[in-house]
């Protein structure tokens, strides 16, 4: 029981992320592709959670699923004039395929070569709680500063994009 449940979850998430990636490449509709990308990112976040890398899972959801995917969708939807423009040709790009294969091969090689180094993972990984405590005590000042940076950027962005009756 204790073993089968995580393994089953892993297989579901792994298939979801791989299947999502394939579906993203296969679809001809750019908007659909963006949604498949979102699905892949969420599935990857689930795998991180299974590995008890809670913080990484959180960042994956917040940054990749939350910000990057939404930004992609915004860009696609703002640049499309008509609904039909979203459907694109599907040319087979041999160059891109070669680069992707090389990249995959390189990663597999590294994993195979450096397996001993990867095995030395600490027994327990500090959870989100410990991280949060650090962030709001030791690193409170940079954290608060970052929020002011965002506020300043927000004011600037509103100013640039705002209309005359701002």
């Amino acid at each position: 029981m204790s073993e089968t449940l995580p393994v089953a979850a892993f297989w579901i998430l792994a298939l979801a992320s791989l299947g999502g990636a394939v579906a993203m490449m296969a679809t001809r509709n750019v908007v659909h592709a963006a949604f498949w990308l979102l699905e892949v990112m969420l599935a990857t976040a689930g795998i991180y959670l299974l590995l008890s890398a809670e913080f990484l899972a959180l960042v994956q959801v917040l940054v990749y699923a939350g910000a990057v995917a939404v930004l992609t969708l915004f860009t696609v939807m703002l640049t499309l004039r008509r609904r039909e423009d979203a459907v694109r040709e599907f040319p087979v790009a041999w160059g891109s395929m070669a680069i992707a294969s090389l990249f995959t091969g390189g990663i597999l090689l590294v994993l195979a070569r450096f397996r001993p180094a990867l095995a030395q993972v600490p027994e327990t990984i500090p959870g989100v709680e410990a991280f949060g405590e650090q962030m709001f005590t030791t690193w409170a000042l940079p954290f608060e500063l970052a929020s002011i940076v965002l506020l300043a950027a927000l004011v600037g962005a509103v100013w640039w994009t705002g209309g005359e009756d701002l």
Binding site: L141, P142, L145, I148, A152, V155, G156, W159
Partner: protein, 455 residues
């Protein structure tokens, strides 16, 4: 945490930014925002002076030493002068509530950057002080050229910021800590040198030092001179303090560290001064002369911690008059010949501009002379004889183009000059700047002693 009250200047500035943003709801004129912002900036400068030097804050992430106090007061005072001027003149064709608020955000970032002694705090406050600057550079939204300059500035500045962040990650990896007190790059050998240079790239670009100065003239010439008056001065003071502190923490034990700084200094001085000479646009001329002045400052930075006080003092000695020259360029027009006949039209401003320009050349008794004197003294003590000779020669060259401005103002003629309205607040800004230029000249040695210079 009990010492958080020492950050009252920063809180005042941030509160002022929020008040300025919404002040025009009460009164229909948006210029009143700049006036309110000026009051907050002045209060912050006074508060910083009254609070004075103190210990470390947040476990050593901030250090309110003498240099930090001087930089905070200078940043607050200069921001006050700029906001007073905006109060009087406004921003052509646009409201100025956002400009005032963004300037105050940038002031808060600058004040924190001047006291940062931690890599993360440094980086975040650096961004806080420059992000508003991007917007100010392209503040007129209908002006395509201004937006182009702002975009160029934004892209280059972001790129170099990321290179710097990459370098900072190396520094953290080598030292195992982000605190300045625990940085030691010496043991890492070539990796330490790489990290040092990568970190410098970001700061060099922000200060527009020689190999990374290309964005400056285009960005300045595209923007309004009034906005450049702020962007080219206040963040620079904080940048120099950050550079002095970072070099002090990183440079020991890194082979060739001061060599990198001195080579960049010589390139900046020669390139900046020679390129400023043929310019006919005051903004471009000041952009190149800014590159040259950064070169002088780098010379003292290369001298190590002993040169720190002189570098910070000179950053202020450069920023104060150069802000005034930019404001004048906004009022009279950006071309060199636009200053023609200034002495007969506005004699008081013409004579004040004489003081500013003499300070930029470095002629006694104004502040620029003493700044250069102590700068070159600390460089000579560190053994940089030839670079200092180059610097002195280049100062003479710089007199050539600054005197062209003076000649235009006193001997030139101009037909159809614009009638510049009299505004009390704008005049107050000019008076404030001129008083600082003259008073810092008289008080140069006590101030430098306060900063920790050994005579």
């Amino acid at each position: 945490m009990a010492d958080v009250w020492r950050l009252i200047p920063e809180f005042l500035v941030l509160g002022g930014a929020l008040v300025a943003l919404f002040a025009e709801r009460a009164r229909s004129d948006s210029r009143v925002s700049a006036g309110i912002a000026a009051a907050f900036a002045a209060a912050a400068a006074v508060a910083a002076a009254v609070i004075g030097p103190g210990g470390d804050l947040f476990g050593g992430q901030l250090s309110l030493d003498h240099i930090a106090v001087f930089a905070r007061v200078a940043i607050g005072a200069l921001a006050t002068a700029w906001l007073l001027w905006v109060w009087g003149r406004g921003v052509t064709g646009e409201r100025c509530a956002e400009a005032a608020a963004l300037a105050l955000f940038s002031v808060a970032g600058g004040m924190l950057m001047a006291s940062a002694r931690d890599l993360i705090v440094l980086y975040v406050s650096l961004e806080l002080s420059t992000i508003p600057a991007y917007v100010l550079m392209g503040y007129r939204r209908d002006d395509a050229r201004g937006l182009e300059g702002a975009l160029k500035y934004f892209l280059l500045s972001m790129l170099t910021s990321l290179v710097m962040l990459y370098g900072l990650s190396f520094v953290f990896g080598i030292s195992g800590s982000t605190s300045y007190g625990q940085i030691s790059l010496g043991a890492a050998g070539p990796l330490g040198q790489v990290a040092f240079v990568l970190v410098l790239v970001g700061l060099f670009a922000k200060l527009s030092a020689a190999p990374f100065h290309y964005w400056t003239p285009d960005a300045y010439a595209g923007a309004q001179a009034g906005a450049v008056a702020y962007v080219s001065t206040v963040p620079k003071i904080a940048g120099v303090v950050a550079l002095v502190r970072l070099v002090g923490a990183m440079a020991p034990n890194v082979a060739g560290a001061s060599g990198v700084l001195v080579v960049a200094a010589v390139f900046s001085m020669v390139l900046g001064n020679l390129a400023a000479f043929p310019q006919s646009d005051v903004r471009r001329m000041m952009a190149y002369s800014g590159v040259a002045h950064t070169g002088y400052i780098l010379l003292a930075t290369g001298a190590g911690t002993a040169g720190g006080p002189a570098a910070v003092f000179y950053a202020v000695a450069y920023a104060v008059p150069s802000m005034a020259v930019m404001m004048l360029a906004e009022e009279e027009g950006p071309a060199l010949d636009d200053l023609g006949g200034l002495a007969s039209r506005r004699p008081a401003v013409a004579w004040a501009s004489l003081a500013w320009l003499l300070s930029l050349v470095g002629i006694p008794p104004v502040v620029g002379f003493f700044g250069k004197l102590y700068l070159f003294t600390s460089a000579v003590r560190a053994g940089f004889i030839w670079p200092v000779l180059v610097a002195v020669a280049m100062s003479v060259v710089s007199a050539g183009y600054y005197f062209r401005l003076i000649r235009s103002a006193f001997l030139g003629q101009r037909k159809g000059a614009p009638v510049v309205e009299r505004r009390t607040s704008a005049a107050t800004a000019f008076v404030l700047i001129t008083v600082i230029v003259l008073a810092l000249g008289v008080l140069a040695s006590p101030v430098l002693a306060f900063l920790g210079m050994r005579f």
